[in-house]
């Protein structure tokens, strides 16, 4: 396949069957490989859409500074787009994210402002919003509330899925900014009535939920619960176990959030199998495992890996 430049190659990712993990011929699991994007994650879609929307709206001018609360993939995607389109990027991210992410951001030329580990991304969002208010010249694209994020998935991810799997019965993805599920979910529901849109939400260690009070909680502005059919909370141990299962059973080297998604998908598959229903369950592999190697997730025993992940933002 040939493209005029890197950005043109974005999207159009492969959908691969998982024959060894699928319970049987009537209940099939499929993985959409979003690591096959320019910077290796699903976020490339949202990053390009958000930047293009901001340019179109006149918010981004040559040489402008983009600010974003991000602990990884969005920052990396934005760093690449910013670099190619001539913007500066400042990322606000919690200090307890993996070394590879920080190195990659800095290699692209992005600046990192660290937020405290305690309070996780809530704190990064709060700090970024505060910085944006105090620096009106900076542009915060704000992935958690920017409609262009969900639109990217409505216009690209969803249609690609339906084109490759017209018989889709379930769509499973990680729930973070909620962009993927809202955008692709909406598209799929419009074009395939009865499809189930299922969220796999990462469950972290206690530190991440350490708020001062319960009203300090955070729900992404993009989130619309009506788009979802079901929402599962997946622990790090389960996500880890499934990530290794993906690698060992299907040869797929995926990031840890994908393990979480597989965990939810396998639950759906088991349910369909027991009910004697046909199912074609498509899941998003948001990224590959490279950025997570230093977390120790792929080495040693599962127990050792779980212990190492405790306290980290693993997805």
């Amino acid at each position: 396949m040939r493209y005029d430049s890197l950005l043109d190659s974005l999207g159009g990712t492969p959908l691969v069957g998982l024959p060894r993990l699928s319970p049987g011929p009537e209940v099939r699991l499929w993985a959409k490989l979003e690591d096959r994007n320019p910077t290796g994650s699903v976020k490339d879609r949202a990053a390009l859409y958000m930047v293009r929307a901001a340019e179109k709206d006149g918010l981004l001018t040559p040489g402008a500074t983009i600010l974003e609360p991000t602990s990884g993939n969005t920052g990396i995607s934005l760093a690449m787009v910013a670099r190619l389109r001539g913007y500066q990027l400042i990322c606000v991210m919690p200090e307890n994210t993996s070394a590879e992410r920080r190195q990659l951001l800095e290699a692209y030329g992005a600046q990192i402002i660290s937020s405290p580990a305690a309070g996780g991304s809530n704190e990064a969002v709060r700090i970024a919003k505060d910085l944006a208010a105090r620096n009106p010249g900076w542009v915060m694209l704000y992935q958690y509330g920017n409609p262009a994020n969900a639109l990217a998935h409505y216009e690209t991810t969803g249609p690609e899925l339906l084109a490759d799997l017209p018989e889709i019965t379930h769509f499973v993805a990680g729930l973070g900014t909620t962009g993927t599920l809202m955008g692709a979910g909406r598209y799929l529901r419009e074009h395939r009535p009865g499809v189930q849109i299922v969220a796999a939400e990462p469950r972290y260690g206690e530190l991440v939920y350490g708020l001062r009070n319960i009203d300090e909680g955070f729900v992404p502005e993009l989130y619309d619960a009506d788009v979802l059919t079901r929402r599962f909370s997946v622990s790090a141990p389960d996500a880890l176990r499934r990530t290794r299962q993906l690698l060992e059973s299907e040869g797929l080297f995926a990031g840890i959030s994908s393990g979480g998604v597989l965990h939810a998908a396998l639950g759906l598959a088991e349910r369909a199998q027991r009910a004697g229903d046909r199912a074609d369950i498509a899941m998003i592999i948001a990224d590959a495992g490279w950025k997570y190697l230093s977390t120790g997730a792929y080495a040693g025993t599962l127990e050792e890996a779980e212990a190492r992940l405790e306290g980290q933002l693993w997805a």
Partner: protein, 92 residues
């Protein structure tokens, strides 16, 4: 009958520091009321006059209850309820 309810750090002032308490009831609603009898004030942090509070997520056996009946969700002996504040999480 025993249903385990995991309590987030922020609400452990109501449970004397305990990270997990037990209760009973036929539905989540009844369970919360049951807990409130022993841990006064806890229910009010979880539920307002409209339903589950906006920034509170409740999972029944790891599934968000808002999609399986909300406060009316049936609960059974051996179920696990996990209460967590809504957070931005990480990794994006």
């Amino acid at each position: 009958m025993a249903i385990e309810v995991r309590i987030p750090t922020i609400l452990r002032t109501y449970t004397g520091g305990e990270k997990s308490v037990e209760g009973s009831g036929a539905t989540l609603d009844e369970l919360f009321s049951d807990l409130d009898a022993r841990h006064g004030g806890l229910r009010d942090r979880l539920v307002d006059d409209v339903g589950l509070r906006r920034f509170v997520n409740v999972y029944l056996n790891d599934e968000d209850v808002r999609f399986i009946g909300g406060l009316g969700a049936p609960v059974h002996d051996g179920d696990t309820i996990t209460v967590l504040p809504a957070v931005a999480g990480g990794g994006r």
